[in-house]
């Protein structure tokens, strides 16, 4: 039998992490994702006790969270090994909905910084008002010509969920911005 070693989206054995002054950038490899769609006019389900949030918002319930991705569509998240069949678990919670596994399609990079540094970084990274990204806000937008979900988990924490195939480019874009803001080399 071939002895296979799982790699992260950035092709390392362990999740990558780097520090640029007060800013820390880390890869999160333990996030399970599944998209959930309900037909127009249908009643919202409550998978894992979650209240599926309104436009541009995140809702949390114990170990799970959900963020709005489009009309009648949400992404359900849980911190757990991606080897689990998360979509099946979501489908069991909301059998009337269309659920698709998304864990292997995305990479999640977490940025931690003090509030003023976070605001300055956001102003450079995406073309949206940084002050509109209050905690528990989620937006889908473009960053360096890549499509990303930007999730403001708290005042000092921001998650970027982008295409897994762009993982290196997304890391490069975020690391370069964080380093330049601190006059450091990447």
């Amino acid at each position: 039998m071939t002895d296979l070693t799982p790699l992260t989206a950035l092709r390392d054995r362990d999740p990558r992490s780097a520090r640029f002054g007060a800013v820390t950038l880390s890869e999160k490899s333990d996030l399970s994702l599944a998209s959930l769609y309900i037909g127009a006019g249908r009643t919202k389900p409550h998978p894992f006790g979650l209240d599926l949030p309104d436009i541009g918002k995140i809702s949390n319930a114990k170990d799970h969270s959900a963020f709005w991705v489009g009309p009648n569509q949400w992404m359900i998240e849980r911190k757990s090994p991606s080897e689990c069949d998360f979509a099946a678990e979501v489908k069991a919670q909301a059998p009337e909905t269309a659920v698709t596994e998304q864990s292997d399609g995305f990479v999640c990079l977490e940025l931690e910084a003090p509030e003023d540094a976070m605001t300055a970084l956001l102003a450079k990274l995406i073309n949206l008002d940084p002050h509109s990204l209050t905690p528990d806000t989620a937006v889908h937008t473009g960053l360096d010509h890549m499509t990303v979900f930007v999730l403001r988990r708290s005042v000092t924490r921001l998650d970027f969920i982008g295409m897994r195939s762009y993982a290196d480019s997304l890391w490069h874009a975020l690391a370069t911005a964080a380093a330049r803001m601190n006059n450091l080399d990447t």
Partner: protein
Amino acid sequence: MIIPHPLLGPRDAQEFTYLGDASLMARPDPYSESAEAEFCNYVYLRDNPAGIHRELWFHEQGDRSWLIITRDTLTHEILGAELVSADKLKAGL
């Protein structure tokens, strides 16, 4: 250009993909007697107005909704944006 998304507010036009004239939603009836001529017009002929134009834009780097944008092609001023709802599709608007 900034597009005023009806759900998400002002968004950079780079997040969107342009499809073309909103009249493309009015697909001809393939069973009508004049279907061949109508499809010829539908596929090949477009008005190219200098002024107000209704056009389809797809919010690719966003909520992936289709919008009808009313735009002045002379000034690029966006005069309105609305969601292409299922009802409008059904009505062929």
